[in-house]
Amino acid sequence: MNLPMDYLDGNAAAGELSKIFAVDVTTAEGKCVYCGTTKRFAEAHVYMEGPGIVARCCVCEQVLLRFVNARQRGFLELRGMSYLRFDTA
């Protein structure tokens, strides 16, 4: 896939995602359902120029997460990740 090089890291989305996740999402490991890679969410390629946030796998560029916040409603789609593993301590 040839996407423009205007993505950021998972880190850049962490402030917005802190509205949802009680844990630090950047250090959480997510498994991509498309290519099977397990990486820290901080390593995902994040696109923030649109109306929401799109996080893509840094290996296969498929969509891991989408988050849109509009008119006091949030929409979160996570179908590109089979799991997120994080520290609970």
């Binding site: 090089m5 993505y7 950021l8 890291d9 880190n11 802190s18 950047t26 250090t27 901080a42 923030m48």
Partner: protein, 243 residues
Amino acid sequence: MWRVGTVIDLHDETSTARTITLEVPDWPGHVAGQHVDVRLTAPDGYSAARSYSIASAPNSEKRVEITVERLPDGEVSPYLTQELAVGDRLELRGPIGGWFVWRTEQTEAIQLIAGGSGMAPLMAMIRSRTAFGNTAPFRLLYSVREPEAILYRDELEKLSNQDRTMMLAYAYTRVAPREWPRPPGRIDAALIAEATWPSKLGPTCYVCGPTPFVEIAASLLSACGNRSEKIKTERFGPTGGKK
């Protein structure tokens, strides 16, 4: 959760970059490399948020410094660099992120690579190392447009002059000082080989800058034999997201 910080100092680093020091009474403390989101709200309720890396070392004074580069058509940075005054208040969310961080317990060799204002979180790491008396060997490769665009220049030079385990190399992309050995240009394999730790030392590498810069630096580090899990990156873009 948004916190309120009061501006206690403003300092121009270059003709386009300003450091803002905030005092945040309920600041929980941070780790070098983390960032904050800054939110500005207009009287009509319109708000805009941007991310800025924290440039200051962790401290007990509830102080947070960010360095903001003014973007000519920016929505937030012209206000922060030209209109904000001491005593003004800003809304902050953070500290954010536990991945792109350097902790004072780390003792391995550290390779820092900064592109432009990507220097800010790496400066927090350098300041943190100094503040906590850590002696891990640090090496910084700082790629910048021209000598006048170097952030924290005096502090960096003082530190590297005083401390042999803090090595500093500049690379210029547009204008180099007179008789500088390397012509201005993008970082390349020869520069990485000359100005970074050999991969056999197993350094942890922190790369921060605009996305294309980070892509190049990370792939050059990787081509030199650094393992991908030892290369941590932080990218920023000119609008909307991280800056």
